[in-house]
Amino acid sequence: MKCSQCESPATVHLTEIIDGKTKKIDLCESCAKEKGVTDPSGFALADLLLGLGASSEIESSGEGKQLVCGACGFTQADFKKSGRLGCPECYSTFADPLEAMLKQMHKDTLHRGKVPAHLKEQRERGMKRADLQMQLEESIKAENYELAAQIRDQLKQFAVSTASRPKE
């Protein structure tokens, strides 16, 4: 039996039941070590199993054309070999083929967890500004110029406070 990662003879055989499906993997000594299959903290195995199953998925959905990440030069072949991506930008590069795989791997493909505070703020600011802009247009349409002036002031202040926000 050959290693599913390289062509060496496989000496490590793994079976795990995930979601009721039995997954089998054969690895050679060095690939097993590299993948941390012997890792006592045990995180690596699930990653490995899913990563491998996933990489064949990504390959088949590529439709022949080879995608390459413009930021780090990572290719689909690299992904198949390692089960890992090259850089954060890879997620945009491989967005299409990843979609199906993520669907299979996770509860959903949309993040619902934590958002870094500065992005949250940015998001909320964007929403608030859009809101003010709409109010402004409405008040002008209603010829309520006093209110329009007030909103304009608010928007101006908004711009100032945004500009004076320290960068990271």
Binding site: F43, P88, L102, R112, V115
Partner: protein, 364 residues
């Protein structure tokens, strides 16, 4: 001033004395977050130079946080092999990380409850660990720590996909919530595989911590979430917490059943474990872990007067290869370790009286 790791680490004795909710069954609760820096290739793809840059950015940022007021911070390349193994035996770093050299590092807090691995599979692997079942507290703590850190480090984050990680299995929240469970009752009752399968069906992972299935060394198992995208961290923590509580319930029932239905078998297991640990002259870490596990079971059921759980948990650590070598102050070959290990156990079990069955409940 650079502090040596072995001067920094808390003693095995102190390690064993830590307590937490349900600690007769739940050894520890852990939450890990995977984070990466925007615009830099993941460690598997990064060249030496950018890895070094990540290390030089992350280490000072982590060290400056209030939770790291007293810390050990080091480069993996500067740690001795035995030191890396000690960190592994304490479950503070992964085997993968122990194998890392230039460009990788760790920052560890005073009581060893917070540890950041730099340039493992991701730029940052932040872990918080607490004894017993405290998953929610551990999550709250690591969440706060992570928020403080994100003010100093530009994390790679996408509106749609969340925190971007080297492996798509960690994408989104980047969270791995896990608990280490001691399940000798379920193993002796031959129910453990059933439990493993049931929990796996729920989409979580259960496995022997050191080995597979019923072969799990020391009857120690780990439960963790598998999916990281599409749910909030709190939901994931809550689900794992629920699963753990259910397993705790099953284990408690299994222990009671053993005592009621197969007391002689139970006393035999525990008594033999004491006999061997008290008198053997050669003992492997594998055998020692299984025997200590049975003694721990006996203690939890009040069958072992004079033996404390804290000293058992201390021994669990002390019998590991690197810890043995640290105690002896010299490198030991495997055969020598088996001798020293047996000697240590004999010394500790001296004077421990045999199994004392609980008094029969009288039908008054």
């Amino acid at each position: 001033m650079k502090m040596e790791l072995n001067e920094f680490l808390i003693s095995a004795e102190e390690f064993g004395q830590r307590t937490g909710p349900h600690d007769a069954i739940v050894l520890s609760s852990r939450v890990r977050l995977a984070r990466n820096i925007v615009g830099i290739p993941f460690p598997g793809r990064a060249d030496r130079e950018s890895k070094q840059r990540v290390l030089e950015t992350v280490q000072p940022a982590v060290e400056s946080l209030p939770e790291m007021k007293s810390h050990f911070s080091g480069a993996m390349a500067d740690l001795k092999a035995v030191e890396k193994q000690i960190l592994m035996e304490r479950h503070l770093i992964s085997r993968e990380h122990a194998a890392k050299g230039a460009g990788s590092g760790i920052v560890l807090n005073r009581d060893e409850t917070l540890c950041v691995m730099v340039n493992e599979e991701d730029h940052l692997r932040i872990q918080s660990i607490r004894p017993g079942l405290q998953l929610k507290q551990v999550w709250q703590r690591i969440d706060k720590f992570d928020s403080e850190l994100e003010a100093k480090i530009g994390y790679a984050f996408s509106d749609k996909l969340g925190y971007l990680t080297a492996c798509p299995t960690n994408l989104g929240t980047g969270i791995r919530v896990s608990a280490m469970l001691h399940l000798p009752g379920l193993v002796l009752n031959e129910q453990v595989n059933q439990i493993i399968q049931a929990v796996n069906k729920l989409g979580h992972t259960v496995r022997g911590f050191y080995g597979e299935g019923t072969e799990a060394l020391g009857h120690i198992f780990q439960v963790s979430n598998q999916m990281t995208l599409g749910e909030t961290e709190a939901e994931i923590v809550e689900r794992i917490n629920k699963v753990v509580l259910q397993i705790v319930e099953h284990e408690a029932t299994a222990r009671r059943t053993l005592l009621e239905k197969k007391p002689n078998e139970l006393f035999n297991h525990v008594g033999r474990a004491l006999g061997v640990t008290a008198h053997a002259h050669i003992i492997s870490s594998k055998e020692a872990m299984n025997l200590l596990s049975l003694l721990r079971l006996g203690i939890s059921m009040n069958l072992m007067p004079g033996l404390e759980r804290s000293s058992l948990d201390e021994l669990f650590l002390l019998i590991q290869p690197a810890h043995l070598q640290q105690t002896c102050g010299e490198k030991l070959a495997s055969e020598q370790r088996d001798l020293v290990r047996a000697g240590l156990l004999r010394k500790r079990m001296k004077g421990v009286k045999g199994v004392k069955p609980p008094p029969e409940p009288s039908d008054a």
